[in-house]
């Protein structure tokens, strides 16, 4: 039985209990959200190391770190190291997007090492087995790969099932065309074989496999915009309508489902995009990549996209897929993975504060109190990246004293406003809240 099937029958699973505890919510509220499809708990029982995590608007916003080798760079050891870096930095979900050789072994290594739910894009392995020969893909091979990965323990899978033959011309007239790896693969296959999307055409068979292993579908956005000029266009929204249809079919079949979203989107269009997805997909958790709010900053796309991700988390997203500083330039290394995760922890948390999620601001308030008290140790402890903060502070520390120095090198002792403010309070007998 899937989490969705259990929830519909009124059953509370162990996974729901864990999520309820972690989120400080009554378990019935978790069960109801899962039953309605507004929340998912991607959790494959074959993934032994897993600690279940909930995705949905009633929970805190989660972040995903994409990992995985490319055909030209990196290998199993590198990717397992990056996995460790991502988890330590706070990634809630990870995806193994490896292509090329050695895929089953890399995936198994990640499943063994990751308490975070693990996702994949099965068409990558399918095409890897064909050495990149996309037109040669047999739909049965694709389904075999999905089954094998489900049996192996993958918790959620990105399936580009909503990109239909009829919508390809809409994408081809864009500036950037198709920028989704999976979307481009499906498109070339359909085009060469003059045949409908094999996932869409075989959706009942796909759902049977997923239901058996309780693999959560992440409906891929093969037609997400790859630049601001292509944002919120006919291609993107044509696919979204199909995703809405597939959400309904998944829910009827008892398969947990979330929906992936854009992409490159101007800041002012993000709220509209979030609301449109929520409406068309009837509240299915929205899993967004970025969005990137300007195209002109390669090397800094963790920032361009953390800006968009904060707006996305505020207005409707439940899971944020990180973008690293290497985006548009190369495969991220471990340091870039770290920086991507931290940027997204910021976005997720800022979004939670902005949407008024109960308890979200507590950590900020602890930091404020620690700052007012010059308690540097407490400041570092409550920091998203304690090591980074501590190192930077120590770099220009002037006094050799303990960690209760009452200023930093920015203003120095005489010009520290917090220090002056504290003195005024002491003089006037005012007390902080």
């Amino acid at each position: 039985m899937t989490q969705l099937e259990a929830a519909k029958k009124g059953l509370v699973t162990d996974e729901m209990k864990i999520v309820a505890t972690d989120e400080h919510l009554p378990v019935d509220q978790v069960r109801e959200a899962v039953a309605s499809g507004r929340a998912v708990i991607p959790c494959n029982r074959a993934h032994r190391a897993i600690h279940p995590v909930g995705v949905g608007r009633i929970f805190s916003t989660k972040i995903n770190a994409n990992l995985g080798r490319s055909t030209t760079t990196s290998g199993k050891g590198d990717e397992l190291f990056k996995l460790d870096v991502a988890l330590r930095a706070g990634a809630d979900f990870v995806m193994d997007l490896s292509v090329g050789e050695d895929l089953r072994s890399i995936r198994q290594g990640m499943l063994d090492a990751s308490p975070a739910p693990l996702g994949t894009v099965p068409v990558y392995e399918t095409i890897s087995r064909l050495k990149g020969d996309i037109p040669e893909m047999n739909p049965d091979l694709l389904l075999d790969v999905i089954r094998e990965q489900a049996e192996q323990g993958v918790d959620f899978m990105t399936l580009h099932a909503g990109l239909l033959l009829r919508d390809i011309p809409k994408a081809m007239s864009r500036v950037m065309g198709i920028v989704s790896r999976g979307g481009a693969i499906m498109t070339e296959w359909m085009q060469k074989n003059h045949t409908e999307n094999p996932l869409y055409a075989n959706w009942d068979r796909v759902m049977d496999i997923l239901a058996e292993h309780d693999v959560t579908v992440s409906l891929g956005d093969g037609l997400r915009s790859g630049c601001l000029a292509d944002a919120s266009d006919a291609a993107q929204f044509a696919e979204l309508d199909v995703l809405g249809e597939l959400v309904r079919r998944c829910r009827e079949r008892g398969v947990q489902v979330m929906v992936e979203g854009p992409g490159h989107i101007p800041f002012n269009q993000i709220q509209m995009n979030m609301e449109r997805e929520q409406e068309i997909c009837e509240g299915a958790p929205f899993y967004v990549l970025g969005p990137v709010v300007t195209d002109i900053a390669p090397g800094y796309d963790h920032i361009t996209s953390a800006i968009g991700a904060t707006a996305a988390a505020t207005y409707g997203a439940s899971l944020l897929c990180y973008v690293t500083p290497a985006e548009h330039l190369g495969l991220p290394d471990a340091d870039e993975v770290h920086r991507g995760v931290i940027a997204y922890k910021i976005a997720a948390h800022a979004g939670d504060v902005a949407r008024g999620l109960p308890g979200a601001r507590e950590r900020d308030d602890k930091m404020a109190q620690a700052r007012a008290a010059f308690d540097w140790k407490a400041q570092f402890e409550v920091s998203l990246d304690p090591e980074c903060a501590r190192k930077r502070w120590q770099k220009t520390r002037v006094c050799t004293g303990a960690e209760d120095d009452d200023h930093c090198s920015m203003c120095g002792k005489e010009f520290c406003a917090v220090r002056t403010s504290k003195r005024i309070r002491e003089q006037t007998g005012s007390n902080a809240h």
Copy 2:
């Protein structure tokens, strides 16, 4: 005659012409915006190296880089080097916030080297002359410093004139109290001397000096919030009301004026803050610091604040004061200055795109076209930080070929979506826009 006085009389100055050319606007529109106070052109004739820059919603959003030594760290050479770094990275404005010794010389060095308008906070020099003894400050000394700096060529000055005696208790009951250096100085002085804010009390005298040299006032927000818990509170808005009054007095006197704003603000309160300032200060250009949207990420406050700054630029700010990764931890070094400027160039540009500023998206579109064509050279040229982008791309380049490689190490050749998309287009005879 100040730019404002000239504009009111219907006169077009050379500075207005330069701004009109740079902003691709008719000069009459620039003159009208200056006349109404909705735009300012900070430009002191004694600043020989200046290239005039306009601030206001009809122009592109500008960014400011804070520079200057603290009492414990850095010196003239360091700060001149940072100035060069900031200007090269694209800073439109710079402020010299130096405290301690050697202030006149540091400032002169910056004025000589900077085509960007230069701002200061005169109370810093005043208190530096008193070796940090705040209660000893004589209002006449503060006015003398303002006059000397105006004569020297400072283009705009932050004056914390809106923080009144009656509003101090509101600030003292906060979690973080006062976090503005200038605000804390004014407050301690008022408190110890039981006397009203010396800038407010002598505002006519202050304006006489500023008008003579056409120094633009930047009305300081001494009561800006220093943490989310203190955001948008009674103290902050009490000061804003006084700033509104001072804006009107400046405009009547012919003194150009902009208004500084918060601070630490949750993402969902930024739009309200921008709109409230615009209303109360009757469209005076809003110069915002960040805002920082979460308190928990020391070491990454260029990101926490670039998120807020993008929203600020979208909803009403005209000038964004950068925040560097060193914020809350120490005085920024040259690399941190660079990173702060780039983060803010992103925020300013993303905001301009979001608010539909004519022409803003052209650069993004050029990038999209270069990406679709695998024209790496063009991609780097249109990048905000070409050197960073090029270096990262070269790091994992697989082919030894020229700069027309049709993929990067992220996906490799077989899995590059843009490459696949290009192939599909060639097969189907589709053309990009």
